[in-house]
Symmetry: C2
């Protein structure tokens, strides 16, 4: 069963196509979308041995000339030097404006390939083939592309929409389990922040999801993309709503900073951050306690952490105030009025924040 | 007298404001256009001593915080390393998404600053304050931004429209005369390719233009921008018309290549190229001889070269076939059916091209 979602973002229409084992259809899906014959498949050393041959064959059978560009794997390579490797390969192979770049991999490959497409010859086509759950439900939608700068993440980039996003849920079978669960944190976030029914769906289908049951995964990913697309669309008209996607991120970033980004995956830190945001929402009388418990239980049932590492309250407060999203020194939190009801960033009494930190610090 | 032209390109509206001595109005013009207070003025070591203080004062008096970024002057610095200097300065000074970049200088500064704006934090505002005639009539319109790659010009970049273009014709008084005349070649091109009335205007006002008479310059620049804007707008709907802007460029690029880019300024090479394109148009029975003479005379009256340097026919043909715009080895020329009537690129019999080269090679 293949599912398809039509998006209309930034004046540009494209489809997200989701299914199990649909990688071999990439070539024929691209035929009506592309003007030229030159296609570069940008991937990394981890994904290439798994899926590059299949993608390449599909493209060649559809009549495209394929240039594979295999980059080193990891966030530390999401930089200018690696971007130059993409440009150099395209130029050395005389790629023209009618070419297309295919991003085959996770968020790092997607962000870099998207920015390379946005900036090569003032913009060429690109296609996302995300192979991690996080990139399937998050970076597939919204057109954020970019690279890191030595002084900060994602400082250089562009909003640039793909021609197509093709999500083969089968690629999740080769994704390390911890990476999958980290992606689940973002999926759960969509439920907590925007959609109580989807929150219930995740609870009711927890076993199927963890068993990677293809139809359940496809429904889950489609719904996640649809929720994110709606938020992004609304944000285009009425600025600010996109900020709700940062639920759990203020605490989460503090946790990542304090642990020097080497203890928790991003989704794990966000999972803890969402529990803390729910807890804080209850302390300032926005959210009932029953909802806080349901949120904590669902996150826990997906084997994600719910306690934060042991640092002093001061260390947490300091790490949060250095977060780049802090305007004029005031820490603002995305809070909850209940499950599915995220509220725009607001500042709260420091004592409530301290109480949440005290309560969630793990002594186990 | 200040003139203003409203453009509507790439889904984005902005104004080109033209006048003599209007640099000091920049700050107040920007107040309603910008959300934030941070403004970086990107300029070079040649322009900074002339106009930076005036621009900075105007912005500060309007309440903006101004960061000057002074780059080395020259096309050889239109590269990744210089772009990084812009990013570094913005990041070191904690520039946020609401900031604005002001490009104060010629085409190199405009292209680089525009691309920095397109790619910093996924896109911030920018404003063009072009100080050369070429950048005023050419790069102000169309949103082409970018940098060079070691293997080719403008290979990395984006289409990105400014919030405002402010053209102070007074800045032309400090422009070296040869640069001014080189810019005139592009102005004349608009007349030859698209507008016989404008062609006559240039002939009738030649003395006022060369004397930098402010009102005449403002009319001339406004008309040039309007002609280019119309071509670019039409191109957005019906692709290809923009290619007519390349009148004179096939021969022009060959001349630049053969002389290693160190003998003629770009406009000078285009001037010769336009005479050759007119000559070739006559040889293939598209254009009457009287028009060819009028074109040659007008170009000559603006002290621009009309003969090409001495190289063999083979050298010219070879240089043209290596031009990046050549598709599948066929040299295509923008030709003329008459003054104001450019025709889409077409290939012609090699013997006609050889005859044009023979005829225009200078033995003087």
């Amino acid at each position: 069963m293949t599912r398809s979602l039509q998006l209309d973002l930034g004046n540009h229409r494209y489809a997200i196509t989701i299914g199990a084992g649909i990688l071999p259809t990439l070539g024929s899906l691209l035929v009506p979308l592309l003007k030229g014959k030159q296609v570069a498949v940008v991937t990394n050393q981890t994904v290439a041995p798994l899926y590059l041959a299949e993608v390449q064959r599909s493209l060649q059978e559809a009549g495209f000339q394929v240039l594979p560009i295999i980059l080193p794997d990891g966030e530390i390579y999401k930089n200018h030097e690696t971007l130059q490797l993409i440009y150099d390969a395209l130029i050395a192979n005389r790629f023209e404006r009618s070419c297309c770049l295919v991003a085959l991999g996770g968020g790092v490959i997607g962000d870099m390939t998207g920015f390379a497409a946005a900036s090569f010859l003032r913009g060429v086509s690109y296609v996302q083939v995300p192979t991690t759950l996080l990139s399937q439900v998050d970076s597939s939608v919204g057109g954020k592309t970019g690279i890191n700068h030595p002084l900060g993440k994602n400082l250089i980039g562009a909003f640039y929409q793909p021609q197509l996003v093709l999500i083969d849920t089968y690629t999740l079978t080769t994704l390390p389990s911890r990476q999958f669960l980290s992606g689940m944190a973002e999926v759960i976030k969509y439920g907590i922040a925007f959609d109580a029914d989807f929150f219930d769906f995740l609870g009711n289908n927890q076993q199927e999801i963890l068993a990677l049951q293809p139809d359940t995964l496809a429904v889950m990913i489609e719904k996640s993309c649809a929720i994110k697309a709606k938020v992004v669309e609304e944000d285009e008209k009425e600025s600010g709503r996109r900020a709700l996607l940062n639920l759990g991120h203020t605490f989460g970033h503090a946790i990542e900073t304090l642990t020097h980004y080497d203890t928790f995956l991003h989704g794990e830190a966000v999972a803890i951050g969402m529990v803390m945001a729910a807890d804080l929402s209850h302390r300032v009388d926005l959210c009932d306690y029953h909802s806080v418990n349901k949120i904590t239980d669902l996150i826990n049932s997906f084997r994600l952490p719910i306690h934060c590492p042991i640092y002093s309250e001061e260390a947490y407060l300091d790490a949060m105030s250095r977060d780049k999203k802090v305007a004029a020194g005031k820490v603002r939190f995305v809070l909850l009025a209940g499950i599915g009801q995220a509220l725009m960033g607001r500042s709260v009494a420091e004592e409530a924040v301290r109480a949440t930190i005290r309560d969630r610090v793990s002594f186990s």
